[in-house]
Each structure stands twice: as structure tokens, then as C-alpha cells.
Amino acid sequence: MSDVTIRIPTPLRGFVGGRDQVAVPGATVREALSALTAGQATFQDRLFTAEGDLRRFVNVYLGREDVRRLGGLDAPLPAGATLTVMVALAGG
């Protein structure tokens, strides 16, 4: 299983030691995000509902496309894929 690069938005970097991107294994979006949040219940809760769906105020992109348009969490990831996690910023 090849590594997926996940870009982390600034508000969530506290969960990954301040890093702006993380490499994790995963063949689907779900697998990659599960690997990202493994062992961190708060981080999981931030991204997923109790039913395991992506929260509506969290967007994840494969390349420049929203994964919700590519099959959602089950969307397959090509080798060397880059996922971008995005949340709303409010600051002005």
C-alpha cells in the first residue's frame, strides 16, 4: 500500500505535532484518514460523525476535487495521491 500525502489545515495541525503535511498508508480516502487519526479520539471526532461519515464542515480534496464528488470516503486513491483536508477559516 503506497503512502498518501495529507495536507493538514492550520487549525488541525495541533493533532499532528504541528506538521503541515503527513504521509500515511491508505488505498481509499477512509483508510488514509483513519490512519491519520488512529488512536486520537478527539481528532476522529473532529473529522467524522458518530456514524463514520465525514462531517459537513470538513472538506477533503483529492487533487483539486472534493472527494464527495469522487465517491466519498470510499474513493480509491492512486499511488502517490495528495489529499487536502480543509476547514473554514474565519479570520480577517
Binding site: T10, M86, L89, A90, G92
Partner: protein, 385 residues
């Protein structure tokens, strides 16, 4: 016979002359009617839809106005003499069908043909906007358009500072500032609209003073108030573009929903630490451009938003994002280029990278989707960042 009269007689023999009625018919059939008189002369009236290009710049600028050398040109001046000289010059330049209006503007007016008084830039405006006027994409018509434009800016803070300064400098004729804060010293690390000398003032007053100092010829309307569901349509209505430089999610949703209701484009930007987002939402025909809720249908509940105390931002970051927002605003006002719509530009200041993600129109959008009508509401305050 004077030298001039002899020369004019020669030109009359060569240059086809037309009367006012024929000139109008030619113009209506696609010919370009060019008024070659000086600006002071055309200021009091010129044929409707004539291109006003003073004789001194005629050869230099004619190709911007008439790129097709086979197009029929009808030149006119005050009495029909200068236009003969000018016609000869344009023929020599390479235009194939150049005619002169016999009797010039006097004959046009005497025939009762349509006249307009073109808006004029005074000498100081000409000097101020020279770098715009020399660009064909803006030019005099574009500068007039900016001067007639109305932009509402929400937030006279980090993003609002560069946006307001650049829009004022560009000559956006009416800027409405909306903010209910006071200037504090901790603002000055990034809010370059304000100054130590204006600490404690209302931000909209401090901002207005700075903007009028930069460009006293524009109008700055100051609203020292917080946007709410009850006032948002009144405050934002009547503007050509709304620019969202607010600092909280409830206002951003309210601004979006009001802009969708009003059909006004919303130039959006948001920042946090070293990161920024910028896009243009709505404002085109319904369904043509996404809105903020197509991207984020709903705000996170308060427990998922980081605390306000965590907020921090590199001082220059609002400059990076705010100037892009100002550029997008001016593009929208002038109808230039491609707006940053349907996509969100992400700036990563630490990596020095821009990335772009697609923001398609969401057919089920709660705000702009077909049949959707979102009620304007004041959302509970969530800090967000």
C-alpha cells in the same frame, strides 16, 4: 488663397465627405464615428456613442479603437476642417475607408442628431489615474466605471485595510465601510489602515480619514455597526460588489446569504496564522457561480471551533490575501479577465505556495440552490479562526 485653404481644397478632392444624416446611418451600420476634437471641446457635447480621440493622439491610439483597418471610419471635428487633415493621416496609416463629416459637430447639432455629454476627468484626476488611463483594459471608460462604482466592505481590520486602501486609490467612487470596533494598539501589527495617532477611534472613522487622505475625491460612507440579519440587506443593498473581510463565521454566513438574496458578488477571503483562502462567490446569473454555502454548507458548532485565544496571524498575511481580494473586486467592477470563481485559492505562507481547489455549484445548496431560500439569521457566535 491661404496655404491652409489650398490644402483643404486638395483634401476635399480626395477625402469623401458625408453629411450628418449619412454619418449617423453609417454609424448605425457599423462604422466608427470618431470625434477628433480636444477634450475641452467634447466636454460640452459629442455625438452619442462616438469614440472621442483627440487629433493629437489619433494615430497613436486608433488601433486600440479600430483594430480592423477595413472598417469604415467617419471622422468629425467642430466644423469639418481638422477631420479632413485627420482623415488623410489615417488613410496614410493604412485605413481603407475614411470619411469626414462635412460641417462637423455644428452640422450634427443643427440637424438635431443625438448628442451626449461624456463624463469628464478633471486635470487632477487625469494625473492621479494616469497609470490606469494608459492601459487599454482600463482607459478612460474603465476609470469612469470605477468612479461610478459602489463597493461595500465588511470589516475595516486586517483584510479590510489593504482592500480599502487599494480600492480607494484605484478611484472606486463610493466605499462603504462597515465595522463596529475601535482601533487598538494590537491591531496595528497588520491593520495598516489605522495608526497610532488614531488609537481609540471608531475603526470606520479612522479608516475613512486614512482613505480620504489617500484619495479625497471619493466618497467613504462609514457605518459603525455590526452586521445583523435585521440590517444586512439595507447595508449591503445598492452596491456593485460586496467584499467580506469580516473576522467571524456568523458574519460570513450572513454576508453570503444576503449577497445571494441581493444577487451581488461576494469577494471572500479568510486568514489564520500563515494560511489564507480567497475566492469570488455568486453575483452572476443564478447557478452560474457557487456561493460560500456551496463550499461550506454550515458552520461548525462552537465546540469544534478553536478558541478565540488561539487566533493569531502573521501581520503581512492579510496583505497577501487582501490585495488579491482588491484585485478581484476591480476585475469584477471592470468586467476584466476571469474572476476567481468556482475555485478557492489557498495560500500557504510558510511554504510560499498557492494551491487551488475546485468549488463547483452545489445543486442542493441551502442558500443558492434551485428553490432554496435561506432565512437571514444571526448565527450563534462561534469563534472559528
Amino acid at each position: 488663397m491661404s496655404l491652409k485653404d489650398r490644402r483643404l481644397a486638395e483634401l476635399r478632392a480626395r477625402v469623401p465627405e458625408v453629411g450628418p444624416a449619412e454619418a449617423l446611418a453609417l454609424q448605425q451600420a457599423g462604422a466608427l464615428l470618431i470625434d477628433v476634437r480636444e477634450d475641452e471641446e467634447t466636454a460640452t457635447g459629442s455625438p452619442v456613442a462616438a469614440v472621442r480621440l483627440p487629433r493629437g493622439f489619433l494615430e497613436l491610439r486608433i488601433e486600440e479603437k479600430a483594430p480592423d483597418a477595413s472598417r469604415t471610419l467617419v471622422l468629425m471635428c467642430a466644423g469639418g476642417a481638422r477631420s479632413l487633415f485627420a482623415a488623410e493621416d489615417l488613410t496614410r496609416l493604412g485605413y481603407g475607408d475614411v470619411r469626414s463629416l462635412a460641417g462637423g459637430f455644428s452640422a450634427w447639432k443643427a440637424a438635431g442628431l443625438p448628442v451626449e455629454t461624456p463624463p469628464q476627468l478633471d486635470a487632477a484626476q487625469r494625473e492621479r489615474y494616469r497609470r490606469h488611463l494608459t492601459m487599454p483594459e482600463v482607459g478612460e471608460a474603465g476609470q469612469h466605471r470605477l468612479l461610478r462604482s459602489r463597493v461595500a466592505l465588511i470589516g475595516a481590520g486586517g483584510l479590510g485595510s489593504p482592500i480599502a486602501l487599494y480600492l480607494a486609490a484605484a478611484g472606486v467612487g463610493r466605499l462603504t465601510l462597515i465595522d463596529d470596533d475601535k482601533v487598538e494598539r494590537s491591531n496595528l501589527q497588520r491593520q495598516i489602515l489605522h495608526a497610532e495617532s488614531r488609537l481609540g477611534q471608531r475603526k470606520v472613522d479612522s479608516g475613512r480619514a486614512a482613505l480620504l487622505d489617500l484619495n479625497p475625491t471619493i466618497e467613504v460612507v462609514a457605518h459603525d455597526t455590526r452586521l445583523e440579519a435585521g440590517n444586512v440587506l439595507d447595508l449591503l443593498g445598492g452596491h456593485d460588489v460586496v467584499v467580506d473581510g469580516s473576522d467571524n463565521l456568523p458574519t460570513r454566513y450572513l454576508v453570503n446569504d444576503a449577497c445571494v438574496t441581493l444577487g451581488v458578488p461576494n469577494v471572500y477571503g479568510a486568514i489564520f496564522r500563515f494560511e489564507g483562502q480567497v475566492s469570488v462567490f455568486g453575483g452572476a446569473t443564478p447557478g452560474a457561480r457557487p456561493c460560500y454555502r456551496c463550499l461550506f454548507p454550515e458552520p461548525p458548532p462552537a465546540e469544534y471551533a478553536p478558541s478565540c485565544a488561539e487566533a493569531g496571524v502573521l501581520g503581512v498575511l492579510p496583505g497577501v490575501i487582501g490585495t488579491i481580494m482588491a484585485a478581484e473586486t476591480i476585475k469584477l467592477l471592470l468586467g476584466l479577465g476571469e474572476p476567481l470563481a468556482g475555485r478557492l485559492l489557498l495560500y500557504d505562507g510558510l511554504r510560499g505556495e498557492f494551491n487551488e481547489i475546485a468549488v463547483p455549484v452545489d445543486p442542493e445548496c441551502p442558500s443558492c440552490g434551485p428553490g432554496a431560500s435561506v432565512a437571514l439569521t444571526d448565527l450563534a457566535a462561534v469563534c472559528g479562526v
